[in-house]
């Protein structure tokens, strides 16, 4: 039996290759540089293309061009790079360009501390580009999730023609863990639906579908792509009803399907007073804390680990919070996702515990906080 020992970043690279990704471009930035290194090593050997862009803006630009030419593309950065990606993320949304973006979050704000983890960008990923249209954000907790959720991310980007984020953290991306590939979930790989017959309008949809069929730039039929507000034919439109309908479709194509990609683990416990809501690396401390609370303090505590952050899994939150007196949201920041939990569970008591000091939230701190309430 052969066991791998890899970082989260390497597991993302493996997942990307498995999902059919053959184009990668990024700019070196700690703690994402090891993902660049992994792709530089793995992609050319698989007949793909891995490029180090002159900056983040160029890197995501190369990816969008390659994706429009039919390739599955990946880029990766951290908070400062996400800031530079913003305008192109908006383009990916507007142009319905499949793309997977990994944000390996680090201590911020701004340059912050490159070698420390944080959850500083969880709202930024959702609201960090102009227009405010929905995006998909998946959050791994360990190397297994890094592989599996990367495959899901590519599948969603292909099916829904949109940018999909992986919200990682230095504590996941650059922590090496034993990984038995036989025990890792490998979802079947899905490709973008191609236009097959009739006249081709790049942003037209059939019937009650929400996602336009794709044709590549470089194929036999000329394809138009534009960042300007456009109609189904890919030309600029000034017709308010066309504009509104188009944007509502962009919103609907993601939100109407969200149940199918609301990934989470719910560990309910009978007679629990408190529900912990956590994601990412902190979910692991929460698991350890929940076990300790039951074993050491006779305090059953339910746990909801969110692996899809956006769109917010509202139904999962509501179900988990039934019969619960207190919801405790844990984050490595000053309180961001807690606002979503409060919004969704508007009648519940929702408390926050977190810090953005470069340190992990420990199981002991969580136990103390749960007992305090």
């Amino acid at each position: 039996m052969s066991v791998l020992f890899v970082e989260g970043n390497q597991a993302v690279a493996m997942g990307a290759l498995y999902a059919g990704c053959r184009f990668f471009a990024s700019y070196p930035i700690t703690p994402a540089s090891t993902l660049l290194a992994a792709m530089l090593e793995m992609l050319p050997a698989a007949g793909g293309i891995a490029i180090q862009g002159e900056d983040e803006i160029a890197s995501i630009g190369y990816c969008l061009g390659a994706s429009m030419a039919g390739m599955k593309a990946l880029t990766a950065s951290s908070g400062p790079g996400l800031s530079l990606y913003s305008e192109n993320i908006s383009f990916a949304i507007a142009g319905e360009i499949p793309l997977v973006i990994v944000d390996i979050m680090r201590q911020g704000p701004s340059t912050g501390a490159a070698t420390r983890g944080a959850d500083g960008d969880v709202q930024f990923m959702r609201w960090g580009c102009s227009g405010g249209l929905p995006v998909i954000v998946l959050a791994p907790t360990d190397v297994r999730d890094c592989f599996t959720l990367t495959v899901h991310a590519f599948n969603l980007a292909e099916q829904l023609r949109c940018p999909v984020f992986l919200a990682s953290n230095k504590e996941i991306g650059m922590t090496r863990e034993t990984l038995d590939m036989r025990a890792v979930e490998k979802p079947p790989v899905i490709d973008r639906a191609l236009h097959s017959s009739g006249p081709f309008l790049p942003f037209a949809v059939k019937g009650d579908q929400d996602v336009p069929a794709f044709l590549p730039i470089g194929g036999a039929i000329p394809v138009r792509q534009t960042s300007s507000t456009h109609g189904p034919d890919g030309y600029i439109t000034t017709d308010p009803s066309v504009i509104q309908a188009g944007l509502e479709r962009l919103q609907r194509k993601i939100e109407s399907k969200q149940k199918s990609f609301s990934f989470f683990d719910l560990e309910p416990r009978e007679n629990a007073h408190t529900l912990i809501v956590a994601y990412g690396i902190t979910a692991r401390a929460a698991r350890a804390a929940a076990a300790e609370l039951l074993r050491g303090h006779s305090t059953p505590t339910s746990l909801l680990v969110l692996k899809t952050l956006w769109p917010v899994p509202e139904e999962a939150l509501r179900t988990a919070a039934e019969d619960i007196e207190r919801v405790l949201v844990l984050e490595m920041n000053l309180g961001q996702y807690v606002h979503e939990v409060r919004r969704v569970l508007c009648n519940a008591r929702v408390d926050f515990y977190g810090k953005m000091s470069g340190q992990l939230i420990t199981p002991r701190e969580i136990v103390t906080e749960v007992l305090r309430g």
Binding site: S2, G61, T175, A285
Partner: protein, 406 residues
């Protein structure tokens, strides 16, 4: 050029020139301001057979100058047409990077303060193998464009023109004085022989084809039984450049060969090859939930710098905990057992001490045995590196066991 509509892509930028893609019934991409060259590069790399023509105004050129430089450095087969009309037309006639100092524009007096960019000179000096400067009224412009597009590599044509709505209304610009202005500058007619070299795309594919067929991540075979029954937290505290993290990886590899679950994370400063180097390992027969080290079972205290970085850890240790201490390093107060080793008298150099300390730890069989460590060495090193590592282990065996007791 006898190209079909499906064999060409026009990649346009923002501004009046950004409408270019709508004039042609070819593949087209109209992206963000200043970034046209980036999409073009992605498309060309993904689809090498396509003729990629990029149009940018002098406006897009300014904002995307870094991408122009990269395109010149790289020499991917793209053609950039700069539609240069000396101002930002669409937004009302503000000055651009090519606006003359004496022009009248809608940016107040700001253009008086800046020297305009010579696009061809910048491109040629950045590695572009084809740069041409001409007037839009030039009679053989189509021939020049054919030459540029046919050129196998990055070609740039800086096309000077009038902006009738904005710049042209405030400044005396005509075909004649455009020609005069062009003639006052050094000529750029096309090929820049000093920059002639391989086209990037074909060069990239050639390099890629030289790499090995597949990259398989090497796993570790599980061949031993675990020597421990519970989780252990091991921290190595040393100095950057002294192979502390590799020692941690070796410990991990040794533990994995006994079927244990392992996590490893490192803590170091942003400086390179300076400062402390800390690696934290958790080794357990059970899956590891929390990856933080709370209460180390073992600390290898290899340097003062490393110890100073994590002084907080020592007070947390239990009496059963063990510290392997490199003589000369001062420790904070701890309840753990301390095994002091004088590496110097045993001729163990600084870069060897992390491995040597591991070997001493392995003698206790907790959390790994010497057999597991030897197996890890075989797995991780070869040739002279393997020989040197084995030599360190040999020299460590000569350190008598009594020296380990306090």
């Amino acid at each position: 050029m006898d190209l079909g509509a499906d064999e060409v892509v026009i990649v346009s930028d923002i501004g009046c020139s950004g409408l270019f893609d709508t004039f042609f019934d070819t593949h087209a991409l109209h992206g963000l301001h200043g970034r046209a060259l980036t999409y073009a590069a992605g498309i060309k790399l993904a689809c090498p057979h396509l003729k990629v023509v990029v149009t940018m105004g002098d406006g897009g050129l300014g904002i995307g100058a870094a991408h122009l430089l990269a395109a010149c450095r790289r020499n991917l087969d793209l053609t950039l047409l700069v539609l240069n009309n000396f101002n930002f037309g669409m937004t009302g006639g503000q000055f651009s990077c090519t606006t003359p100092e004496d022009a009248s524009v809608t940016s107040g007096f700001l253009n008086i303060l800046e020297k305009p960019m010579d696009v061809c000179s910048v491109a040629a000096n950045s590695g572009a193998p084809f740069a041409a400067r001409c007037s839009v009224f030039r009679k053989d412009l189509p021939d020049l464009l054919i030459e540029a597009i046919s050129f196998d590599g990055f070609s740039l044509v800086d096309i000077w023109s009038l902006c009738p709505a904005r710049y042209g209304k405030r400044n005396p610009l005509s075909p004649r004085n455009i020609d005069a202005a062009i003639n006052r500058l050094p000529p750029y007619e096309g090929p820049v022989s000093a920059n002639a070299r391989r086209e990037y795309g074909s060069h990239y594919r050639e390099q890629r084809d030289k790499t090995s067929a597949t990259v398989e991540l090497r796993g570790t075979e599980v061949v031993f039984e675990p020597s421990i029954e519970a989780r252990r937290e091991v921290v190595l505290l040393g100095t950057a450049g002294e192979r502390v993290i590799s020692a941690g990886s070796l410990l991990a590899s040794a533990a994995i060969s006994a079927g244990m679950h392992v996590t490893q994370k490192n803590d170091y400063d942003i400086t390179v090859m300076r400062g402390p180097s800390v690696t934290e390992l958790i080794v357990s027969p059970e899956p590891i939930i929390y990856t933080g080290v709370e209460q180390p079972d073992v600390i290898l205290a290899l340097s003062q710098e490393g110890v100073n970085r994590r002084r907080d850890l020592f007070g947390t240790m239990k009496p059963e905990g063990r510290v392997i201490l490199s003589k000369g390093v001062d420790l904070p107060v701890t309840s753990a057992q301390i095994f002091e080793v004088d590496f110097k008298t045993h001729a163990i150099k600084k870069k060897e001490r992390a491995l040597a300390a591991l070997s001493l730890l392995a003698r206790t069989k907790d959390p790994v045995t010497q057999q597991m460590l030897a197996s890890a060495l075989q797995h991780s090193f070869q040739g002279t590196s393997l020989e040197s590592a084995i030599d360190v282990l040999d020299r460590t065996t000569r350190i008598p066991l009594e020296a380990l007791n306090t």
